[in-house]
């Protein structure tokens, strides 16, 4: 019977129970939805990495030989090692319309020709056939193939250092080390169609490139230079009847040399008429033992450290042990004799791994912050609603007790209201959150990350939070009824005596005596109904805060774009130079585009705890095109230093500029000395930090050219900055330049990246705004229902609807204004927190909110309040005076 009562009471108080339901449902749906995608990304990546054996270490050197590999494999904690040659190249593909051919940059990875298959970062086959060293052809990246409509069986033309070769697509693959690929580290967001990657056997490496490299060797060049003289000598000696072996002796040429062939082919080579077979025959003629395979170099190697890498997202003893194992392997590798390892990096600095990790961890901050807001606001609101509901049931509780129902039975009956409503809301939130929110977010992420088998994931923490919310709501219901149950049945049946703590001044001479009736009444009503008033303020505050966040984030992102792409990167075009550009060509480029340049130097430095950290120094000789920013985003030419934040001579040898965030996170400050070395060099520098600057998107070091050269290092620029109009040029149009990036395209890349972040947050904020609206509406209903009999009395006395609506709206307006005043600064703080913690470690954002955002928040919240008040005050028109007054009796 009591069960029927529950259903009917819920039906009768549908509005209030629905708001409780909606708040719990939204809170859990948002939390589980965000976690479903962020945990989904984390666990899907962990699974993919494990199943396809992502490398633990990347090694860079001149050439890893068979012996080197054996030595590395022999190390205690190394399970396996593989070598390869990774080169920047390009590939001809159809444009998006399929009508023309475009040349697109591509990373080409030539695998060890001895390896029959890849065991580290194995190729996950999407289409086609498995990789084998015996197969010619290429295995191409899945997202690139998809974006460019490349099919298995297509023949593609590739270019490496100007050498062209054709390969048939044998397979389309994904790999754990290419979940996210960018053409160079300065690219923020790369459209899959604009950069490709491929694996192929070293056997496919363009031989002509190798022969041409050999032809550049000193002794060969020397031979070619003297070929004409040798030929003359041979001809002279031959005419004299001297046999060729004697001629060779005479000319001090090795007897194994096939001199006739060598001279014939040398002539073709010098005339530029030699093809690859001519070059091969020429070299073979000079050295019959020549083996092309011995010329192949493998400057890249990847290492699988023994044991499976533990889940990096869960702190554990195993993770710590694995980290120290990695550290010791790194040290052992550096100490290996006769192996030149110029640099070793781990997963954390590998762009694919780091980007995915950072992206999936962003969800933690969103979900944490939003859930905190949701649960806090919803929880407080539920407290008020449930306690009001139970109070309204006072006489019914007394009746049940008078009828002989035990306290336990009554308690169970009443907590059932909170329990069932929250259980149903929690279950629905958990079930719907994943598919409704998690999946679209995951899909958005998967447009960037090539992660096979990515799936949503609902971890136990979601169930725990849902259970906690149900328990809290049930406890709140219990606490609401507990005090009533303590009373006797007779006491309970009597109406509760209202407690008034307000004292009116004798003689009525207090300030309130002069106030209009509506002001007096509303002031006292607010004080009498403290919890409801606080709830209303919190609700409005939450709503304002969320509106400030929504618009503030957009403003802050726009400010960031302006800061980074107008103030810091103060150029129109950036030319990334190809490797090995000759000095002559470089001077031509300077003449055409100016000599504002920079060089990025990969370094390792020791943090304050002595750990080796990978980073980079931008050696800035850009004449103010690439600027440094102070804390407040004012930018300067590096040669001018940073006013108020420069300590010492910026041009002395090794004087470092460091970003503020890097200094803070590593426990360094201005004037400290940092130990660092250029990647691949053995010697450590110890130089002073002379300036701190701020960079919104990369935490690293900078240096003037004079300071860099003061260390005895050669400045070899890799980038030219210019304001020339290069809009009609493509990458291939300028010899010696690998990429032309316009500032507009960089902005566009960033916009694409930020759109994803924005859309996620805007979706969450929409949910939050709905929540805020529900809370304000709920508070309005509560206020109205509590005061209904008073309004009925006023109506009976002859108060018109407009006057009643004015009184009702006046109170709401006051509470709203207080809520807005609190919500505006909190909105700023939350936005700032979001930028500080939700964005990856490499970023240094801060909230920068325009006045318009605050105005929109104020006006928006007032509109919500007025719409809600007007909608609810309509009930005042419909007040059944008789029924309301009788109900009070």
């Amino acid at each position: 019977m009591l069960r029927k009562k529950i259903f009917r009471e819920i039906k009768g108080n549908f509005g209030q129970f629905f708001t409780i339901f909606a708040m719990i449902f939204l809170a859990i749906m948002a939390y589980s939805g965000i976690n479903a995608f962020s945990d989904g990304l984390k666990y899907s990546s962990v699974e993919f990495y494990e199943e396809n054996n992502l490398q633990d270490l990347w090694l860079y050197g001149e050439n890893f030989t068979d012996d080197d590999l054996e030595k590395i494999r022999a190390l205690d904690n190394v399970a396996d090692v593989e070598r390869y040659l990774s080169m920047s190249g390009s590939v001809d593909v159809n444009n998006s319309e399929g009508s023309e051919t475009e040349n697109i940059p591509a990373e080409l990875n030539f695998l060890d020709k001895e390896d029959d298959k890849k065991n580290i970062s194995t190729l996950y086959l999407r289409e086609g056939e498995e990789y084998s060293r015996d197969k010619d052809g290429v295995w191409i990246g899945y997202y690139f193939a998809k974006a460019r409509g490349i099919q298995v069986g297509d023949e593609l033309t590739f270019y490496v250092e100007g050498y062209r070769f054709n390969e048939v697509v044998r397979g389309i693959v994904s790999t754990p080390d290419h979940v996210y690929t960018v053409s160079d580290p300065t690219v923020i967001f790369q459209d899959a169609a604009d950069f490709g990657w491929a694996y192929l056997s070293m056997k496919e490496f363009p031989g002509e490139y190798l022969y041409d490299e050999i032809l550049k060797e000193d002794d060969i060049v020397e031979y070619l230079d003297s070929a004409d003289d040798i030929k003359k000598a041979v001809d002279t000696y031959s005419a004299m009847g001297v046999d060729i072996e004697s001629i060779k002796k005479q000319l001090d040429i090795d007897e194994d040399v096939d001199l006739e062939t060598a001279l014939e082919k040398a002539s073709l080579i010098k005339d530029g008429r030699a093809d690859i077979s001519d070059k091969a025959e020429f070299i073979k003629a000079l050295d019959p033992d020549f083996d092309l395979d011995e010329c192949l170099v493998y400057p890249n190697a990847i290492v699988d450290v023994a044991g499976t890498a533990p889940n990096p997202y869960v702190k554990s003893k195993e993770l710590d042990e694995f980290e120290s194992k990695l550290k010791s392997v790194k040290n052992e590798l550096y100490e290996l004799e006769d192996i030149s390892v110029s640099a070793i990096t781990g997963r954390d600095v590998w762009p694919s791994y780091a980007s995915l990790k950072s992206e999936s961890e962003e969800g933690d901050t969103y979900s944490g912050m939003f859930t905190f807001l949701f649960v806090f606001i919803a929880g407080l609101s539920v407290v008020t609603t449930m306690s009001r509901f139970v109070k309204k049931q006072r006489v019914q509780i007394g009746t049940l007790k008078a009828l002989g129902f035990r306290n336990n039975r009554v308690t169970i009956h009443y907590i059932a209201y909170g329990f069932w409503v929250s259980v149903i809301a929690a279950i629905l939130g958990l079930v719907i959150g994943g598919p409704l929110l998690g999946q679209p977010f995951l899909n958005m992420e998967l447009s960037m990350f090539d992660l096979p088998g990515a799936h949503r994931c609902i971890l136990s923490k979601n169930y725990i939070l849902a259970a906690i919310i149900v328990i809290v709501i049930t406890m709140i219901t219990y606490m609401s009824i507990k005090s009533i149950l303590k009373e006797s049945a007779a006491q309970t049946l009597r109406l509760e005596v209202p407690h008034i703590k307000i004292k009116a001044k004798e003689g009525g001479k207090g300030i309130s005596a002069k106030l209009p009736f509506s002001v007096k009444w509303n002031m006292r009503d607010i004080l009498r109904s403290k919890s409801r008033s606080i709830m209303a303020i919190v609700g409005v505050m939450g709503s304002t805060l969320l509106i400030v966040m929504a618009f503030g984030m957009q403003d802050s992102l726009n400010h960031y774009l302006e800061w980074e792409f107008d103030k810091i990167q103060a150029y129109n075009y950036k030319l990334t130079l190809s490797e090995n550009v000759s000095d002559d060509r470089l001077n031509e480029l300077f003449d055409t585009y100016g000599d504002a340049t920079s060089q990025t130097v990969a370094i390792e430095y020791r943090d304050s705890e002595g750990n080796i950290v990978t980073s980079s120094i931008t050696v800035n000789d850009s004449d103010g095109y690439l600027r440094v920013s102070d804390h407040d985003t004012t930018t300067y030419d590096i040669n001018d230093g940073i006013p108020d934040n420069t300590y010492g001579d910026i041009n002395k040898a090794g004087a470092l500029f460091a970003t503020e965030k890097l200094l803070k996170e590593n426990g360094y400050s201005l004037g400290d000395t940092i130990k660092w070395r250029i990647m691949g060099e053995d010697d450590w520098n110890e130089t002073e930090i002379v300036a701190a600057y701020r960079d919104p998107q990369s935490q690293q070091f900078s240096m003037t050219r004079a300071a860099f050269e003061g260390l005895g290092e050669d400045y070899i620029c890799d980038t030219i900055y210019t304001n020339e109009d290069l809009s009609n040029l493509t990458d291939a149009d300028i010899d010696g330049v690998s990429t032309i990036s316009s500032i507009e395209s960089l902005k566009e890349q960033m916009n694409v990246m930020l759109e994803m972040i924005s859309s996620m947050i805007i979706l969450l904020i929409t949910i939050s705004a709905i929540l805020g609206f529900i809370i304000i509406y709920n508070m309005g209903i509560l206020a109205l229902s509590e005061k209904m009999y008073q309004f009925a009395t006023l109506k009976v006395l002859g108060f018109r609807f407009k006057k009643l609506a004015f009184i009702y709206t006046q109170q709401n307006l006051w509470l709203t204004i207080v809520g807005i005043i609190l919500g505006l600064p909190l909105g700023y703080e939350f936005t700032d927190c979001m930028f500080k913690y939700a964005i990856g470690d490499n970023y240094d954002f801060f909230a920068n909110i325009d006045l318009s955002a605050y105005l929109i928040a104020i006006i928006g919240t007032l509109i919500i309040m007025f719409v809600t008040s007007i909608a609810l005050s309509r009930n005042l028109k419909k007040i059944d005076m008789v029924a309301s007054l009788k109900a009070n009796e």
Partner: protein, 235 residues
């Protein structure tokens, strides 16, 4: 002169699919300056009658004429003005506003009536001048009912409508309240008409007119030639 006239008035409530006829073709005239008691069992239609006269409800059919004006077709706002200017209500459970002091509850009338009585005078009239600055919850039931009366008479209404005004009070306090109400019908108070709805048949003895209601119909209207003195009534 008739203060109140009802012509063929019916009030029908729809309860689910059923019709409940609270008043059934009622005709009634009440003269000015009379102390009228409406008697009848629960559900007879007493309160409905009072609510229609006071403009708190509208009839399903028929006409309600107060002070010579047919209020049946009044708009919501006009009914509010009518209640504000012409009618004082007193309820069993007082319905005074807990957030306002005693005096402020009476002064509330200043918001809607142009020339109300002075709140202090009205409170003195009901013997509450000592409690003017207290809040309602600091008063006894009888005192709260007197606040309600003071608020009603402060409007100086020609028509005072009381729904079980002594229902929640002890007999001694009830007598005090009835005396105050009766006083409103005197010439010095403006010859006001007081209509009381009650179960309590004893109150009928002090009335000028007793109207008995049953099943939504007027059973009888009796003029009391010699109304009893309130103090003489055995409660």
């Amino acid at each position: 002169m008739n203060k109140v006239s009802l012509r063929n008035v019916s009030k029908v409530y729809n309860v689910g699919e059923k019709e409940y006829r609270a008043l059934d073709h009622v005709d009634l005239d009440i003269e000015e300056g009379k102390f009228v008691v409406i008697l009848g069992p629960s559900g007879a239609g007493k309160s409905t009658l009072l609510n229609l006269i006071g403009g708190m409800d509208t009839p399903t059919e028929g006409e309600v004429i107060v002070n010579g004006e047919n209020i049946t077709g009044y708009s919501e706002n006009k009914l509010s003005d009518f209640r504000a200017e012409s009618v004082g209500f007193i309820f069993q459970f007082y319905n005074i506003l807990p957030s306002l002091t005693v005096k402020e509850n009476v002064e509330l009338i200043n918001e809607i009536v142009k020339n109300p009585l002075d709140a202090t005078e009205a409170l003195e009239d009901v013997g509450l001048s000592e409690h003017m600055y207290k809040f309602p919850n600091q008063l006894s039931g009888g005192e709260q009912q007197r606040v309600s009366i003071a608020r009603a008479i402060a409007k100086n209404p020609a028509l005072l409508l009381c729904d079980e005004p002594t229902g929640a009070l002890d007999s001694q306090t009830g007598v005090m309240i009835l005396k105050i109400l009766k006083k409103q019908t005197t010439k010095e108070r403006g010859n006001n008409t007081v209509i009381i709805v009650t179960h309590n048949a004893l109150i009928a003895d002090i009335a000028d007119v007793v109207i008995r209601v049953k099943n939504g119909k007027i059973k009888s209207v009796e003029e009391n030639e010699k109304p009893a003195n309130i103090d003489e009534v055995q409660w």
